[in-house]
Symmetry: C2
Subunit: 194 residues, 2 copies
């Protein structure tokens, strides 16, 4: 059951067996049913979560409308990291789009690990660097790219998710209404070699 | 000359004297004249820079128009971190708004330090966490706040800069034309007790 998280940790950092056991002993397992929440707007994010199985959607609400910021599949770390780091109310919802299994690492346990060795500091650095980069790329794409370019990037980076995520959620991620996304998809299909 | 950087480092991490000497030996000093650039769009960001003296503007250009993303004063670390981390062309310009003195730490030297100890990993983690949080706050404010709210936040967080930065640059940061910012400022002044 913990093989995925072990594999994920070792691809990023040269942990010793002892360090892996230490880290894994601090994880707490959580099952989320489809459309249930790990975190809601206004709550404080108390964990970073390793997604062992399932599918997660991250979104915020503005003027009653949901805006998708990202989708996470098994093998990813998920968090509303600004809320988590600074113990502030979350601006986002984290929702399971499918039956989802998570392993949670609490803020306090993460701080304890940071004091126990360089490898844990490195993991924390890589998590923060990756989150920064994902968030940066996403936002610069919203500023500089057309919706069609964003959809093509989404297709490239999330090919395995495209059948699993409802069209309306992908449209919201791309930043258009579902009808506009349908038009974009038709245009792209016409251009592709048969 | 290096007192500021030493003080800055020690407020974040419990470095030993030896570690401080090691880190400082890897810094390279650079002077920038007013309106000269540390980095231009399309170049690769090869350094994180400690701003020892002066004032820095970070901006991107879309359809020929400059958009300010942030201002940095002495005591800050400055970088186009996405470009720096992934050795990709920068989307941003980093420009001195005044005579500016920087201490540069190269990508290779930063990686060397990471291998030398937990304290350096911790510094890297804190830099990445702070950058993530600053970028996150900035972007969520662009999405959720009104220009007036953004201006009030800017005033609160950058009181010492308000006289040093031309109005047009502050307007661009707030996300309005200079005339709109003048109206916002008049409205705020009327509301404040004399």
């Amino acid at each position: 059951m913990l093989d995925n998280v072990k594999e994920n940790l070792l691809t990023h950092v040269n942990f010793t067996d002892e360090e892996i056991v230490n880290l894994i002993s601090k994880l707490e397992s959580k099952l989320l049913k489809k459309n249930h929440f790990l975190l809601r707007e206004g709550e404080t994010g108390k964990h970073v979560a390793f997604l062992n199985k399932g599918l997660i959607r991250l979104y915020y609400v503005k003027e009653g409308k949901e805006h998708n910021s990202g989708f996470f599949r098994s093998g990813s770390w998920v968090s509303e990291y600004a809320s988590f780091l600074h113990k502030k109310p979350s601006l986002f919802y984290i929702e399971a789009l499918d039956e989802t299994e998570l392993f949670l690492l609490s803020y306090d346990n993460m701080q304890k690990l940071y004091h126990q060795g360089k490898a844990f500091e490195r993991l924390g650095r890589l998590i923060a660097e990756n989150l920064f980069h994902a968030y940066f790329k996403r936002n610069m794409s919203l500023i500089l790219d057309s919706p069609e370019e964003r959809y093509l990037t989404f297709l490239k980076e999330n090919a395995s998710l495209i059948e699993l995520i409802p069209l309306k959620h992908i449209a919201s991620y791309v930043g258009v209404e579902p009808e506009s996304l349908s038009r974009i998809r038709k245009r792209i299909n016409k251009l592709q070699p048969k």
